[in-house]
């Protein structure tokens, strides 16, 4: 709630009503077209991951070399221009993709794992003492300002996007915990789960065999959504000065560093923002398609 960096989770709004049947929608593109669109987006995303892994393949300059004149506007040699001390902005943005993408992934993985554990434990016996305690804990973590959380994690483990990612992940885990809990509870009402319980199946078996196959849909969509949000949050932290430090080409650092030069060289601050937006839009679209497609 006092989450300064993550936009509110739309989790309750987007949870499909499994118990009462799949939501009808107004006439939308037929399933095949949606699947096609999803495939296109996923391919794009895969391409981004590839570039993130091997950024030097598409860049011609080193992101830390001072080989250009400062503040040159985008041209043939420097596709995005140069920054305040003459580094190629294009290669900095591409190398920044690596950091943003993979730190975002780390945040989401942390959130997913932590949140799922808490959610499953709470959902197995809703209303029980474990559920209550975990509930209070979750809300308490939500109430703790994420800036404080981030700073504490960062100072314990050092600065950097990946450390910030852990802090963001812990904050986001609360949303996953709620989602997974709700999903587990709903799945628990299914007849076959009741049957499995009656047969004496252990909770772990019930989870893996019955709950997960039915629940991964909304969780997957939520993961995609939070991936984008995590990238934005990590960028925000770096912008505020808590994430990566210069001369790292992380996008939040680029934007905060370029803010001073808006009047002279708008591209230094604006272009990395466009890049970040583009990736997050892609992720959000994937999330939307995954969710409705279930």
């Amino acid at each position: 709630m006092t989450d300064t960096l993550l936009p509110p989770r739309l989790l309750d709004a987007e949870l499909p009503d499994i118990a009462t049947g799949a939501p009808l929608d107004e006439p939308r593109p037929r399933p095949r077209r949606r699947l096609k669109e999803l495939h296109v987006h996923l391919t794009l995303f895969a391409a981004l991951i590839f570039i993130g892994l091997f950024p030097s393949l598409i860049t011609r300059h080193d992101p830390f070399d001072l080989d250009g004149r400062p503040f040159t506007s985008p041209n043939g040699t420097y596709w995005f221009g140069t920054d305040e001390i003459g580094r190629d902005l294009f290669s900095r943005v591409v190398h920044g993709l690596q950091i943003s993408l993979f730190s975002g992934a780390l945040a989401v993985v942390v959130a997913l794992v932590l949140g799922s554990i808490v959610g499953i434990l709470s959902g197995l016996r809703p209303g029980g003492w474990l559920d209550r305690i975990l509930g209070i804990g979750t809300e308490a973590v939500m109430a703790v300002p994420s800036v404080l959380l981030a700073l504490a994690v960062i100072t314990t483990y050092g600065r950097g996007a990946y450390v910030a990612a852990i802090a963001i992940g812990i904050g986001e885990a609360t949303g996953f915990a709620r989602l997974v809990r709700g999903v587990v509870i709903q799945a628990g009402t299914f007849t076959f789960v009741e049957a499995a319980r009656t047969c004496g199946a252990k909770p772990w078996r019930i989870v893996t065999r019955h709950i997960v196959p039915n629940a991964y849909g909304p969780v997957l969509a939520y993961t995609a959504l939070n991936f984008g949000l995590a990238m934005l949050a990590i960028g925000s932290l770096s912008y505020l000065g808590f994430g990566e430090a210069p001369p790292s080409p992380e996008w939040g650092v680029l934007i905060s560093g370029g803010q001073k030069y808006l009047a002279h060289a708008w591209w230094v601050a604006i272009i990395p923002g466009v890049a970040l937006t583009a990736v997050v839009v892609l992720l959000n679209r994937i999330a939307y398609l995954l969710q409705e497609d279930h």
């Binding site: 830390f64 070399d65 001072l66 400062p70 503040f71 305040e84 001390i85 003459g86 100072t155 600065r159 000065g241 430090a245 210069p246 001369p247 560093g257 803010q259 001073k260 030069y261 808006l262 009047a263 002279h264 060289a265």
Partner: protein
Amino acid sequence: MKRQPRRAARAFAASLVSATLLLSGCAGGDSGSGGSSDTPVEGGVLKYRSTNVQGTDPAFNTGYGPVVPLRGIVDSLVFNAYDGSFEPWLATKWTVNDDATKYVFTLRDDVTFSDGEKFDADAVKKSFEALRAQGAKYAVVNSWIGDLDKITAPDATTVEFDFNSPNSSFLQAVSTTSLGIVSPKTSALSFDQRQKGDTIIGSGAFVISDYRGDEGYQLTRRDDYAWPPASAENQGPARVEKIEVYTTPDNSIAASELRSGDLDLLHNTEPADKTDFAASDDITIRREPLPGSALGFITNVDVPGLDDVNVRKALALATDRQAVLERASTIDVAPTGVLAASNPYWTDLSDLIKTDVDEATKLLDDAGWKPGKDGVREKGGDRLSFELVYGASTVSHEPNIAVVQAQWKKIGVELKFRSLTPAELNQRLQAGDYAFTWGSGTRPDADVLRSGYSGLDPELDAIFKQILAEPDFDARKKLVTEASTRILEQAYYVPLYDFIQPLAFRNTTHLPTFEASHLPWLGDVWLDKS
């Protein structure tokens, strides 16, 4: 020596101007006509911006930006003129004993605080004692005061300061705004009450008339002000009627306001804007470096690698200062010593500051540091990888540091740099957990050396002790040169550049008089009639 002719010329020019003004009888100002740009004009509102101006307690806010307007609300015992000399102000005369342990000031008797209370020796005593009583809450000013034993006020116009150990920098200290005299009522306030924003009462040419929290405040002139420093042009109440002080949300936006005329005076200009202003017809940017130390890296000699003078020397030699200046800041100037060229104690030591990358590489090779797999030199398990730490206000220098980082990379030394919160920075400084720290002190005094470099070298420390005990200007200067030479020869310091004071103002704003600390004397400031 370059300093003397400049000083003489300036003094001559100043007296010429004062004589002309006095003769033309412009103390009353002119009215009606459009105000030529040579004759001072009465009235007007000066608009000033800097970062972080919400604090109005001069004793707590010691940075240049906040102090520019605060200079107007409190007066000091003496005035430290631009040429470095000390002039009477609230004190008409003073004596210092031979080893700088006793200072006696004789005060004016016609001064009042803005709330009507009389200024006297007792008020001075209370003003200083209030600072001592708070200890580390006023860490900076107390370090300037030093090891004070007691203050006595034998009569209403005499005040004596007795020290346990010599402090030859005390005269400069009392000339600062932060040690300006506040009224007894203000001295009696608690620390948090003084931070409130509208509670400081002084004897200055201006009073705080409106406090707007984070946005800043407004100063209004005192019409009964009659005790400016001896060399001020204007010996009566201030020329401008009001001063509006604003916090800057963003330096580049403030710069555009300066261009458009919504602002008269701006502190803290960004490098890109500095270059712009230097070429502008409407705006002047001062080209004098801040009078403290040159900016650069102070080394921690306890770190493996930096404990070897040859390694330190190599780092200093590997730094190409011209390249830094070309790439990052086009109007800062190359350093010529440990002190900035505008510090009164400066001497030209530029032949000790060289760039020679080959020599640097040779020194490192000879010392046994061989490049490792990742290019960073190592020896016996240690790597030449160092971290530079500094606070948030140094962030605008990061592009320049990045240039040095690239230069050192070429000789196999890794430099990392980051800004820290004040709490973390001070903790690491106290613990010695750093390789380099950013050197920047702005006192126009010799003491800026001691506060930066003591504890590194017993020989240096001995010189510092001598400086503190030596009240004579020329003798101090000789000692300072000795100390600076040793600092450079031992490479305790890697100087980068003299930092041009980023004070910019429109040509319709006139700042005739400056202190040695480069603060404008607000009583003389005037604006063209618009």
